[in-house]
């Protein structure tokens, strides 16, 4: 569960990235966040994975008021949140298997559990057979799937993705989106910021549209552009 109550984010430069945002995303929901560049999509995503704090208003993630939480607790709260980026952010010296394992080691997961869970995660994204490949030996889509396996290996309740298909061709993008949807069906909340008009229009999920830091539309089974934009 994610809840924003009158959230404003003001950067030190004085620019307001988000203005009075209120929204609620339920457990297991799949949400697209759309809008032009600079609309505040990335800031909204960062608030969810606790990289950013609201200047005013309150943010609840998994029922914790993260606007109040002390810094030292943040690592523990992040363990319930998986993150995927446009540029994959895999470690080039590590194999696919090691990249995924890295996420479990970093949170000091029991060593006995690690091997099995890593293989399960790789299997879930369809890359078990490429476990020993290094990132440079993998295609863009495969790299993003490894990143996805890394994001889910600690079994987070929320998965956020910031333009995960931005660097991929349309066909590969579909694979990634389908994987994200599968993950959401298993009960994980998925929030995906995207520019990809085709995907949003085809999947008919909830769409939150931002513009100039404000929510201009929040629609179930939405399209990339709202009705108003379709009218002449």
């Amino acid at each position: 569960m994610i809840e924003f109550a009158d959230v404003t984010v003001r950067y030190q430069t004085g620019v307001k990235a988000l203005k009075d945002i209120s929204l609620r995303i339920n457990l297991g929901e799949f949400v697209y966040v759309v809008g032009p560049s600079g609309a505040g999509k990335t800031t909204l995503i960062k608030l969810i994975y606790l990289e950013e704090r609201p200047s005013s208003g309150r943010v609840f993630v998994n029922n914790v008021d993260v606007s109040q939480v002390p810094s030292r607790r943040i690592p523990y709260l992040r363990r319930n949140i998986g993150v995927v980026f446009q540029d994959f952010r895999l470690l080039p010296r590590l194999t696919a298997f090691e990249n995924v394992r890295f996420a479990m080691e970093a949170v000091e997961a029991p060593p006995k559990l690690i091997h099995r869970r890593v293989m399960e995660a790789l299997d879930q994204v369809g890359l078990a057979h490429r476990a020993d490949a290094f990132p440079e030996q993998l295609s863009g889509g495969e790299q993003q799937r490894v990143a996805l396996a890394r994001a889910i290996v600690n079994r987070p309740k929320i998965l956020v993705a910031d333009e995960p298909t931005g660097n991929l061709d349309p066909e590969t993008s579909w694979e990634i989106v389908k994987l994200l949807e599968t993950i959401s069906v298993d009960g994980t909340t998925v929030v995906m910021a995207t520019h990809d008009r085709e995907i949003v229009n085809a999947r008919k999920k909830r769409v939150i549209e931002l513009d100039g830091g404000r929510i201009v539309r929040d629609q179930q089974r939405g399209m990339y552009a709202g009705v108003s934009a379709l009218l002449p």
Binding site: R72, P75, Y76, R78, R89, F102, A106, E108, R150, N154
Partner: protein, 294 residues
Amino acid sequence: MSAHSFRRHWREALQGFWRNGAMTVAAASAVAVTVLILGFLLALVANTNHLTTEVRGQVTMVAYFKDGVTTQQISALEQQLRSDSKVQEVRYISKAQALQQMKEQLGANSSLLAGMENRNPLPASLQIKPKQTEEVAALSQMLQENPAIEKVNDGGQVVPQITRVTNIVRGVGAALVIALALTSAFLIANTIRLTIYARRHEIEIMRLVGATNGFIRWPFIIQGFLLGLCGAILPIVVLNVGYQYAAQRWGSSLIFSMVSPDALLGPLTIVLLLISIAVGVGGSLTGMRRSLRV
């Protein structure tokens, strides 16, 4: 911390060395130079302290009597000194004894003094050992005021001189060592910063998946610890071997004795190890504070 994480932190720390070889060597060398100079100075100070104590134990004042003083006057002063709390020991040297001593000192040339027995020019004296060197001045003052006393030789000038030299050595040494220690810590901090930079992507991923600050920091703390330790080993060996050699070669032939290697080297090694480790860990913490946003 689990055994698994413990091993992992050490592995990461060692990898940090291989990836920044040149910087690692520079930082460890700086520690080595610091430890070498610090160790040398500490050994020097230990020996000058030793010398001061030795000399202090040997300070003896001599009060010479005027010619023609009576035995009553002499024994009165002797009694007075014996009951004085500042005085450890008093010995009376008669004119005859003084002449005898001089003869012994001259040895083969003692014939120079032949015939002096009848008109002995040497004065009778009291040899006085004060309890504390600091009391020499007061005692000397008191003796000079006594009408039976011709002259006082207070023999205490050596100690302040040694103390002055020791203090200069200490002052200059402390300044030098502090400057070097800061340089070492700075170089270690830089090494850590380079390692952090080389690992920034890993650190970013660790933060994203929820690694604690402690987990992220441990390898760097270990790295600083090892830099301090590695830098200290070579100079400590050099100092141990060098001091043993010096003590063996000159220890007994100098006018004063050196502190024995057994008494000095154990504590010195421990102090140097602790200081270099403190410099290493301190440098590492400084390096992290600036560049590890956690």
